[in-house]
Amino acid sequence: MPDHETLPDLPEATSLAKRRTRLSPVWIIPIIAALLGGWIVVQKILAEGPTIEISFSSAEGLEAGKTTVKYNGVDVGTVESLKVAADRQRINARVQMAPETRDWLLEDTSFWVVRPRIAGGSITGLGTLLSGSYVGMAIGKSDSQARSFTARDVPPVVAGGTPGRFFRLKAATLGSLDYGTPIYFRRIQVGQVASYSLDQDGRELTVRIFVNAPYDQFVKPETRFWQASGLDFSLSANGLNVQTESLASLLIGGLAFDTPDLNVQSEAAAAETSFELFADQAVAMKAPERGATQYVLYFDESVRGLSAGAPVTLLGLPIGEVVSVRLDAGDRKKLQVRARVLVAAYPQRFLDVLADPQELTGGKVLTPALRKSIIEQLVARGLRAQLRTGNLLTGQLYVALDYASNPASARIDWLSEPPVFPVMKGGLTDIEAKLTSILGKLERLPIDAIGSELKQSLAALGATLKNVDTLVKRWDGELTPELSATLVEARRSLAAAEGAFAAAGKTMAPGSTTLEDLRATLTEVKRAAQSMRGLTDYLERHPEALIRGKSEEGQ
């Protein structure tokens, strides 16, 4: 203050009033609180993923605020609200997704409700029995994002991202297939049925299957698929055939596939390749044999028991099959009804069963000309088609190509299309024919006449027997007394003879004098005979003795 007067020229300092609104450091606290709160809010916003809308056909088991969306078992979202759609047909669920799902929400991303489910031999979603249903999610592959989805009614069998490939099968019927039906390759389960749909025209079904890696590489363009549904009974000329893939497929059905050995080396089929689904393995594995040549066989005998698919064998080895069995009536001028059997022969099969195909073909491919000449030669040697019974029980027939024992000359008719192959009657049908002819002869026998004649003969025989009877009776009455008298006489004569014999015996009895005398006499005679022999012997040697007498010195 005193300076005021001593230094008048100095400018007066402006004294600013102390700003009353100077911020106290305590304001840091609300600022920190605000920052903290703001940070939390920012975090919350950052942690908040997209909100999506899923349309369900039923919200059964879903609960707003509780039901979670899971991707491979990890929670990635929560159902926020459930509302009935405007059309009252579906339920729209608003789902708060996790932020990391932003890139997953593609157009073909699918959602479904996971409930306990028993299908395709597997029980899934058992966990939901306790925890309640949840919404499953499979990420799609589309490029465009989406925020609105329609839930699937059935969960996809194949989890997204599973390595493997989808294929399509064309089937006439679904058989016992269902979602998740197993697919077997050499009895290993390698995949399952993913979905099926009826084609637009309703004539065929398209079954979409998934084959897991690494088995998908065994699906080649030539691979055949067949229904391994349950138990396959087939009764054919080959006999009874029972087949099943596994006990599980016995219960729930299944599919199986295999590739013919020839095509094993091929490249794996591309994903979504279409295949035909065959009814069974036998049909599947033989169906598309290439290079089949067809022949027509005309049979004048019954072809009952011969059906399409029956084997055609060459000397017992299968080389083809019957394609169709029809009747052929010739033309109007020359009516001739006969069975027309169309058969397909597979030259490849013939070559396959040859021990050394090189020798026949000379290492070249079997050209049609070569084939023709081979068949012609075989026919010239008596090869004929014959119907034979494959199965006596069922009467199934098959076509056998065999050499006829005494072939009538026949040629294969190459001009007609398809060529006509010569046939011969045979097998059981031949026996049948013989039996028939025997029966015909039997039929021609005059059994009636024979019967009546026999009857007459029998009547005559009866009369004769009666006559015999009376004769016998007469004999009985008239002859027997006489006979007995004769017998008495005879007996008497015999007794007399006996007496005579006894007397003779007495005479000849040992010790009787007559016998002694006789014996002595005989001895004498014997001696005399000996003497005679001695005499004759001597005389033989010394005939001179007859004149000179017996010489003294004997020789």
């Binding site: 106290s24 305590v26 606290i29 609300p30 609180a33 709160g37 809010v41 306790l130």
Partner: protein, 210 residues
């Protein structure tokens, strides 16, 4: 109300807030209590400003404290997070409704009530309203008394989390809301402490004097 008694400040005296000794502080240097050495103020410095700042901070914290979960319950079937209000709703059943009321009052009503009461006191003090100063003082006392009970919620939360650790059957974990809730309680208590109740009757007196 007519005869306003003289205040210590009007007589140039300051009371020590620790030992209660009334002394006459010298102008110039910051005064200290001659007996206990405590800093002496005629009135708590920047009381209104600090109180406002803390009230606003508490209000900001109050939002996340109630919006964020305070407790997460894990069971084998999933986890469940609960905010304070969700806990109250869950407790609201025919058997445990008294508990629901206790939680509701202790955790939601009281913190908010305290902040509203403080804001009301601050506004009336700033406006120098002379009305019902006695009731306002009573309100202040109530706010100060109740403050220490507000930690009940935090206490229960920590207790439950510490006790229920029956892994893997059931266990609990604290949520981020607890920290904010504790922040609300602490900041509110500090705010109440910053408020100088003498201001309630200061200004009307001044006005009376003027």
């Amino acid at each position: 109300m007519n005869a306003q008694p003289a205040t210590a400040m009007s007589l140039g005296l300051a009371g020590c807030e620790v030992c209660g000794l009334v002394s006459r502080p010298l102008a110039g240097q910051p005064p200290h209590c001659p007996r206990c050495g405590e800093r002496l103020h005629f009135r708590r410095p920047a009381s209104i400003e600090r109180c406002w700042a803390l009230v606003i901070a508490a209000l900001i914290l109050y939002l996340p404290a109630n919006l964020l979960p305070v407790l997460t319950t894990y069971t084998p079937l999933g986890s469940q997070t609960d905010t304070i209000m969700q806990g109250v709703v869950e407790l609201w059943s025919p058997t445990s409704w008294p508990l629901a009321i206790v939680v509701f009052v202790a955790s939601i009503t009281i913190p908010l009530g305290k902040l509203i009461a403080l804001a009301y006191l601050l506004i009336t003090v700033q406006r120098g309203s002379p009305k019902s100063s006695r009731q306002r003082v009573r309100l202040y006392r109530m706010v100060k008394f109740i403050g220490r009970w507000s930690m009940l919620d935090v206490f229960v939360d920590t207790f439950v989390v510490a006790l229920v650790q029956l892994k893997p059957l059931m266990w609990m974990a604290p949520g981020p809301g607890v920290m904010f809730f504790a922040g609300v309680v602490v900041v509110t208590m500090v705010a109440v402490n910053c408020f100088d109740p003498r201001l309630i009757w200061d200004l009307p007196q001044k006005e009376c004097h003027a």
